[in-house]
């Protein structure tokens, strides 16, 4: 796995930024603003938001596997144990105190 320079470690609670930006975004709309936790730190990767426009992808961004309770994403009615897990870059996450 790549080295990881990002802000978060396994187990950290995080919120996905509830933002809209022009350009090429790999953070799905449905997960923005949702709260989950870092399940796994994948390491640093070239930034697709730059690569998509012919850029060099630098600086690299740390990629995390972030887990969310389905009920926290879609509301009650979801089976309580079920999760959705999304690969999200560091700059799309914020810490929760």
């Amino acid at each position: 796995m790549n080295p990881a320079s990002g802000r978060f470690k396994q187990g950290d609670t995080v919120r996905v930024l509830n933002e809209d930006r022009p350009g090429h975004i790999r953070t799905p709309f449905y997960i923005r603003g949702k709260v989950g936790w870092v399940e796994r730190v994948y390491g640093d990767f070239l930034n697709p938001e730059s690569l998509a426009f012919g850029g060099d992808g630098l600086p690299k961004r740390t990629l995390y596997l972030v887990a969310f309770n389905q009920a926290d994403v879609w509301g009650a009615g979801q089976p309580p144990k079920d999760k959705v897990l999304v690969d999200i870059y560091d700059h799309w996450l914020e810490p929760i105190a």
Binding site: M1, N2, P28, Y30, I31, Y42, K83, I88
Partner: protein
Amino acid sequence: MSATNDQHGHEHPRHELSHYAKRIYAIRDLLLEKGVITEKDIQCQIEYQEARSPANGAKIVARAWVDSEFKARLIAEPKAACAELGIDAAALNEFVILENTEKVRHMVVCTLCSCYPRPILGRPPDWYKSFNYRQRSVTDPRGVMREFGLVLPDDVEVRVHDSTADIRYLVLPLRPRGTEGLSEAELAKLVTRDSMIGVMDALPTLP
């Protein structure tokens, strides 16, 4: 066949092809004329994809079922473990194995496009790329699994992975009960493509 060959040996479109279908041949010819890519490049890519199929994944899974040390290496260093079996996973940026258990099932989708472990399994099936799957899999994974014939009790945790970035996932399905007598090659026949995407379990018995 939807193309004919001209005197240069190039396949060319016939006019019943759709607009974009024809355009790829025009683009291909221009790229060759300009030397941007070569005939050999194209042929290599066609052969590369044809050599990739779910049989690769089935081989990996069957080995993991019969050899717990291999399974541990597969989970820790998936690409190196593939190389042990002669499966070239080099083209994958990162490769991650999701191990199913009696209490946990994984399912993989790419809601944004159609990310898929092509260097292992080949091209994704049509249903994987469909809007219905991309839309529903994250909200209703159990409903999708039911359509594929898998009904899970409530106490099983379903984990849907939305493959949005550089990681490519392969589900390691659960070894079906009562398969102790099967050889590794027979076990591989139980491992369907769909079981490695995670919408169903491995087949319970030989097909």
